[in-house]
Symmetry: C2
Subunit: 273 residues, 2 copies
DNA sequence: GCGACTTTGTGCCCGCGTTCACAAGCAGCT
DNA sequence: AGCTGCTTGTGAACGCGGGCACAAAGTCGC
């Protein structure tokens, strides 16, 4: 992560070296605040990504009537090691009871709080092609959803046509519509050439968080955060691994892949062997 | 920044300059081989992701007739710092001339070689919903494409229907079809409940690299590499940032976001200030 | 009420990836 | 040739995130 993304690609996370210098372990006197701000600020990006995964797993558990869960159980369900899971949870506070585990309900609430899911985010999708359609219909997923409240495109045939219940507007209306509906997250699913222009309009509309599916490096003001999902890059990374193992072990696993059941890496980063 | 290369099917030849392969710094005995294997193995995942980005930028430059480029130019175009770019390029060999820069053509070829793009990868997409459609039509993107050669779903109405030129087959046929078409990369775009079963079938068919769009933690053998793209997680990470800055600076940027033009982070990670 | 057991929370270490800064090397001019 | 200026390639330091292992803390049973 992904990545790195995804995220992470995987590989992920970077920040200005100056200020985070003193996070985590440092007591940090919580200068003028409730401390939650400073805490929220200190959570590493990678941990945030995993928290989102934990949230999904926990939501599933809650629906199945599971009342409490240990870090061990949760960690295998989420595909991470239990120490990392506990550390991640410790970033948001101490909500477990030693010797017992965590209460599912509590954990769900707290993670939602930290991820800012208590106030519903309003999402705008720009570019209503196949991908845009998919995103517009993505509305309800486990836990609270991100309501898609605005759709934009340039195709005249699409204007006013409802997709997933929301009529499509012209991208020229981005500023007014986004302001009116208090859009906080913009999703760019346009062809590459249009991406920067669309991005500029979103920024102009006051959107400060953007998820970009177009394979373009967006230029944005420092105040705006961009996350990128790049299909081509993902495929190329996989291609790299295909090539690497082809080079590296020209003739081995002719054996029909027995189920060893390793665990998929949460960051979308490949297991290196 | 306009690029958008569709067809650039110039058959280029590749050939690894065997000499420079194993030298440089690492002693690394290069046990039984050309050393390229060891090198390829040593490239960090994060660097691979960036190389893919460089490749796209370079392809665009080549189409515009740019002959050579310095690390500085390329780094700003790709949105990374120049030192990192040079280090990334150094992983694949020394193809620059000091005092001058890099030859675009050479760099493109070498990156393609390392990413394994010289042998075309065959991709299968499972789950032909909106997202599946989008992926099936994704075939041609800058540089060489990944040919999608197989599509699968369970919907009887879709059987045999061509999408993006390829008829949809039933997921029960995954093993046979994938084997026949030598699929090396599988893409899962199914609803969550079906993902694990589909994954198992792909693995059974010998696919060792999987790109998973379903919000599920897949269980796979150790030999299989999984990358995950999780829309919900991406949105939640952005939501986290919205919440964080809302908490942290309740009343500041009333100013209409002036164009400072920071540069989007290549890892998809937000620029934090 | 006390001891034993279980599980959390975290201090510490380690390795990877990023960044800095500089030496090495090439081109072009005098 | 030799000097100058520029850019690459990389050694070395740094900082973050991951993992281990243990102390703290609470529960359960007797």
């Amino acid at each position: 992560m992904a990545q790195r993304g995804q995220s992470d690609a995987a590989g992920r996370s970077r920040r200005a070296p100056a200020e985070n210098a003193a996070e985590i372990t440092t007591p940090m006197p919580a200068i003028g605040g409730n401390g939650l701000r400073d805490r929220a600020r200190a959570i590493p990006e990678a941990a945030v990504a995993r928290l989102a995964v934990y949230l999904r797993v926990l939501s599933g558990m809650r629906e199945q009537g599971v009342g409490s869960v240990s870090s061990e159980e949760l960690s295998v369900a989420a595909g991470v090691n239990s120490a990392k899971l506990r550390k991640d949870l410790s970033y948001i506070g101490s909500y477990g009871t030693r010797g017992v585990g965590y209460e599912v309900e509590v954990l769900v609430d707290q993670i939602e709080r930290v991820l800012g899911l208590t106030r519903e985010q309003s999402v705008a999708v720009v570019g209503i092609g196949n991908l845009g359609h998919a995103l517009a219909n993505y509305g309800g997923f486990p836990g609270r959803g991100f309501p898609v409240t605005a759709l934009f495109d340039v195709d005249p045939d699409l204007m006013g046509v409802p997709v997933g219940g929301i009529p499509v507007a012209h991208i020229d209306d981005i500023p007014s519509v986004c302001a009116a509906r208090e859009v906080t997250i913009g999703v760019i699913a346009t062809p590459p050439p249009a991406a920067q222009a669309v991005c500029d309009r979103l920024v102009e509309a006051g959107v400060e968080c953007i998820l970009n599916f177009a394979p373009v490096v967006l230029q944005v003001p420092e105040t705006v955060e961009v996350r990128k999902v790049d299909l081509a890059v993902e495929l190329q990374i996989l291609s790299f691994h295909v090539a690497r193992r082809a080079d590296h072990a020209p003739a081995e696993d002719a054996t029909p892949a027995q189920r060893v059941n390793g665990v998929a890496n949460p960051n979308g980063v490949a297991v290196r062997r």
